[in-house]
């Protein structure tokens, strides 16, 4: 079974080698045949998608298609989609049908793209393994016993397993990059403010960012052109021009300086993983990149900082799920307090509750200064570390994760170990920086990812570096073994 890139599909559509309708039928067929093994989709948009593909074909026929006309994409089930169930991986929103589209969804739809379905995810994006989903875990196509990572695990698997050419995810602490690394694909978390958050169910508002899971940097660049941009409905989105990313690839990186933070190698990274990363670096060196050892002194504090800031924001963001206007609502209740307690007790899963409780605690009178305020200060220090580093370097590189994909069930009962998963990725969220993960080799026959972090709004840098790497290597073309037989 062949995985098609977005770029390939656009070319095939334009040359009339295939119709949009045929593409959609192919993906729907693949999903119905294979997704029972992966559980990557929660909801399929089958009928509407097929209908839209017919219209897309007419538009292509007419010779005036939009950039993404007829191209299917998968959307993480955190993006509100008008008339299509948006569960956020939670029982709380099991039957929630939004009356509106998230801005990023309408941005893609307005360019002709077709939403094929909504992908599985950790509940409210809280998790690093996709095991906290109310709709069951997602299985990694490289080894079904393993987790694809999370929280955008469904989107990552859909792309890795050829069930969608490209997918939208969100990244609050690594939720795009870690699953991309675990499934052998490319995942971009743009700068905070690059893409609108309007219509994206909020987890931690100051960290959440929509992004892309794709087979190549080139596909990522093409989609980002449509996805990104200022949105008057999101005060935190940034009024900056959106470059034509796909036209800015293949720019020589000779003489670029990349920093490797020594803190990434302090502990937890095993020898084999480190070696895979160091081998990948050599590819960049061969392209003329100069490497430099740097230090980001406060990096070690990023996980604890994150686990104060993110729960604090989530405890407030999730207060709206009270069962009054939408969401799970229990019928038999005694009084108002019982109504709140019952709805939230039944509607939310364990990890979500854990974070709400943590967040409520760190914001409480008497603890605010010691936790929330202190975390915000450390966050500033982490930002400053990067700012200082970027005076001398163009980007930061390191492994995306410490290990390749772990087994389902291996870490779910140990939250702290699970939280440590995001040790390399979280700092980019805390600093609002763009970061990408691309496949760079295999560890124990499982894909391994390399992360690049760049200064604010330097997505072009990330995409160009990755693209040139992908011109030299074929790690990104490696398909999960079973796929080859399918």
């Amino acid at each position: 079974m062949e995985r098609y890139t977005l770029k390939n599909l656009v070319a095939m559509l334009r040359s009339r080698d295939i119709s949009s309708h045929e593409i959609l039928e192919m993906y729907i067929q693949r999903i119905s045949e294979h997704d029972s093994s992966f559980n990557s989709y929660i909801t399929l948009n089958q009928d509407a998608a097929l209908e839209q593909s017919i219209q897309a074909d007419r538009l292509i026929e007419s010779g005036d298609p939009l950039p993404l006309t007829g191209i299917p994409y998968a959307g993480k089930d955190i993006f509100c989609t008008q008339g299509i169930k948006t569960t956020c991986g939670s029982k709380m929103l099991e039957n929630f049908i939004p009356p509106y589209d998230a801005t990023v969804i309408s941005n893609l739809n307005n360019q002709g793209a077709i939403l094929i379905g909504k992908t599985n995810m950790d509940e409210f994006a809280m998790g690093s393994s996709n095991e906290t989903s109310y709709f069951g875990p997602v299985h990694n196509p490289w080894d079904l016993a393993r987790s694809p990572g999370g929280s955008s695990g469904g989107s990552a698997v859909a792309v890795a397993a050829g069930l969608a050419p490209i997918a939208l995810g969100t990244d609050t602490g690594g939720s795009i990059r870690q699953p991309a690394a675990f499934t052998g694909i490319t995942g971009l978390k743009p700068s905070y403010g690059r893409c609108s958050r309007y219509g994206m169910v909020a987890f931690a508002s100051s960290l959440d960012q929509a992004g892309i899971l794709a087979l190549t940097a080139e596909d990522t660049a093409i989609l980002l052109e449509s996805l990104a941009g200022f949105d008057p409905m999101d005060s935190t989105s940034v009024e900056a021009d959106v470059p034509k990313y796909s036209g800015l690839l293949n720019v020589s990186i000779e003489g670029k300086t990349v920093g490797i933070p020594k803190e990434f190698f302090d502990e937890g990274l095993d020898a084999e993983s480190e070696q895979v990363f160091l081998d990948a670096i050599k590819v960049y060196e061969s392209l003329g990149v100069q490497f430099k050892d740097i230090s980001l002194p406060h990096l070690g504090l990023s996980v604890p900082t994150y686990y104060v800031v993110a729960p604090a924001e989530c405890s407030s963001n999730l207060a709206r799920y009270d069962g009054i206007r939408f969401g799970y609502r229990h019928d038999e209740i005694d009084d108002l307090d019982d109504f709140y307690l019952t709805n939230r007790q039944i509607g939310f899963g364990a990890e979500v509750k854990r974070r709400i409780i943590t967040g409520t605690y760190v914001l409480s009178a008497g603890y605010y200064d010691a936790y929330y305020l202190k975390a915000q200060k450390v966050r500033q220090l982490i930002s400053q570390d990067f700012k200082k580093a970027f005076q001398d370097i163009d980007a930061v590189m390191g492994p995306t994760t410490q290990t390749p994909a772990f087994k389902i069930g291996e870490k779910i009962d140990d939250p702290v170990t699970m939280y440590m998963n995001d040790i390399y990725t979280i700092s980019a969220n805390l600093a609002g920086l763009p970061a990408i993960s691309h496949p760079c080799g295999f560890v124990q026959s499982l894909p391994f990812g390399l992360q690049i972090i760049a200064p604010h709004f330097a997505e072009t840098e990330l995409l160009n570096l990755t693209h040139l790497f992908q011109q030299e290597t074929d790690w990104h073309q490696k398909q999960p073994p079973d796929l080859n037989e399918a």
Binding site: F79, C80, T86, C88, L93, F96, P98, P99, Y100, A102, R197, Y198, G199, M200, V201, A202, A204, S205, S206, P232, M233, D234, S235, T236, A312, E313, S315, S316, L318, A319, R320, D322, I324, R325, F326, L336, Y340, T360, L363, S364, A365, Y368, Y372
Partner: protein
């Protein structure tokens, strides 16, 4: 022991914006329930707030009017608590860094002295929805039309020392927001409401006593009475050697008493933190200066101008400028009728206010345009009607909604200034009352009024009084 009363007020002024503070929904009042609540007001998953710049401009206007500082950078914070009419589970407000701080205004105390009252801060926030407990049995209904209505919360320093001072301060704030046209000031509709913090301390000491907060007072009278009740209650407790419990109380206007709503222990921990969905609000100096240059004339300037340019007494100017509606009416009348400003002031402060008070009307409900009012005064000065007749005409204008000249003509109310006609009536009167005439001639000059009255009675009050007086004296002398 002698106690000193210390009062601070928190006033919630609903800003007169066309749309809500964080969404595009309309702010109209009295519309069908839940029809002015967008997905943002409903707190739907994924929605985000966007700050209404009109509200920002209004807050700045207020800050400038009370000589406050305008923060170059202020922060919106979330105040977290669960309540069914609070859709997001938090209210967006300002906490540590409000948009307006360090202002003040002057009130007049009972003994006529000016007193400065500090304004600690004024901050922007959204209103919650409304819980309706009395419409359905056993159930509470929620109306979210009010959710997201922009409010300016104005917090005073605890610097008022009597219920009268508190209402004087509240009145002043009311006057300012209405002058600035940033709030309609309608207290029945809840557009302007007040929480009062009251505490007592031994006279001549400086440490504040334990305070209680009386919530949601929506009239000047209630503020005065609630505070007065609270002072008496606290004084009694303190005199008995008991302690005041820090708590929130509600005023029951039917019983004229305050009651415990919740104690300090029962207060929510609101877990304030900066709202990550909104950037810090940054206001540059040029924006402030532009708003300053467009501020309307305020009360003090108006009074001065009335005295200087209109030549009316300061006392009258103060009364006319007291409410912006009256001031506007005065200015419109004088724009049409400018020959006698004092007459205008006099008529507004006596006849107009009398009718408004008697009929319980606002000036807009009166139905007499400033132009018509000017026409009435014109008819007095040009001698068509007397001042006394004019009062009746004014009453008819209010009740029959007819124009001045129509009323005068249809009822034949024109003043009789014809000397011959008046003379013949006077002759008739003098002949009818020879005894009284003799009394007058014997030196009882007061009786002249009796003759004037008789002439007026025979002319239904239409005889020009000055001509009557003149001819009467002349006739008697020549008799």
């Amino acid at each position: 022991m002698e106690w000193e009363v210390v009062i601070g007020l928190e006033i919630h002024a609903q800003l007169a914006c066309k749309s809500k503070i964080f969404s595009g929904s309309s702010t109209n009042f009295g519309i069908e329930q839940n029809t002015q609540a967008s997905l943002i007001d409903l707190g739907y998953p994924g929605v985000l707030p966007v700050l209404n710049q009109e509200a920002v401009v209004m807050a700045i206007k207020f800050g400038l009017a009370v000589n406050a500082q305008i923060a170059e950078r202020s922060i919106f914070a979330r105040k977290n608590y669960f309540y069914p009419d609070l859709p997001k589970g938090y209210q967006i407000s300002q906490y540590e860094l409000p948009i307006v701080f360090n202002g003040s205004l002057e009130i007049q105390t009972q003994n006529g002295l000016q007193k400065r009252i500090g304004i600690t801060r004024a901050h922007l926030e959204e209103d919650a929805g409304k819980s309706i407990h009395d419409k359905f049995e056993q159930e509470t209904a929620i109306d979210l039309n009010r959710a997201g209505i922009p409010l300016l919360e104005i917090v005073s320093e605890p610097e008022m020392n009597s219920p009268k001072e508190a209402t004087a301060y509240m009145h002043k704030i009311h006057q300012i927001v209405k002058y600035l046209e940033i709030c309609d000031g309608n207290m029945q509709e809840g557009s302007f409401r007040c929480d009062a913090n009251v505490s007592l301390r031994p006279k001549a000491t400086s440490k504040l006593g334990t305070r209680t907060e009386i919530k949601n007072l929506n009239s000047f009278k209630f503020v005065e009475k609630a505070i007065a009740y609270e002072i008496a209650r606290q004084e009694e407790l303190l005199n008995e050697g008991k302690e005041i419990t820090q708590e929130t109380r509600l005023y029951d206007s039917d019983m004229d008493e305050t009651r415990t709503m919740r104690t300090k222990e029962e207060e929510n921990d609101y877990r304030y933190f900066p709202d990550p969905d909104l950037l810090p609000l940054e206001i540059d100096k040029s924006m402030i200066e532009q708003i300053r240059s467009q501020l309307p004339e305020l009360f003090e300037a108006k009074v001065q101008r009335y005295v200087r340019d209109y030549g009316i007494k300061e006392n009258d100017a103060v009364k006319i400028a007291d409410t912006i509606e009256l001031a506007r009416y005065f200015e419109k009348v004088t724009a049409v009728f400018n020959s006698d400003n004092k007459l205008v002031a006099n008529w507004i402060l006596t006849e107009l206010l009398f009718v408004l008070n008697r009929d319980g009307l606002s000036i807009d409900q009166l139905g007499v345009s400033p132009e018509s009012f000017a026409q009435l005064l014109q008819r007095i000065t040009d001698g068509t009607i007397s001042g006394k007749i004019a009062k009746d005409v004014f009453d008819s204008m209010v009740h029959e909604k007819k124009e001045v000249d129509v009323i005068i003509q249809s009822r034949g109310l024109e003043q009789i200034s014809d000397v011959g006609e008046i003379e013949s009536i006077i002759v008739e009167v003098l002949e009818t009352f020879p005894d009284q005439l003799q009394e007058y001639l014997d030196g009882k000059e007061k009786i002249l009024g009796f003759f004037v009255g008789q002439v007026m009675q025979r002319t239904q009050g239409r005889a020009n009084p000055s001509i009557v007086n003149e001819i009467l004296k002349e006739k008697i002398k020549n008799n």
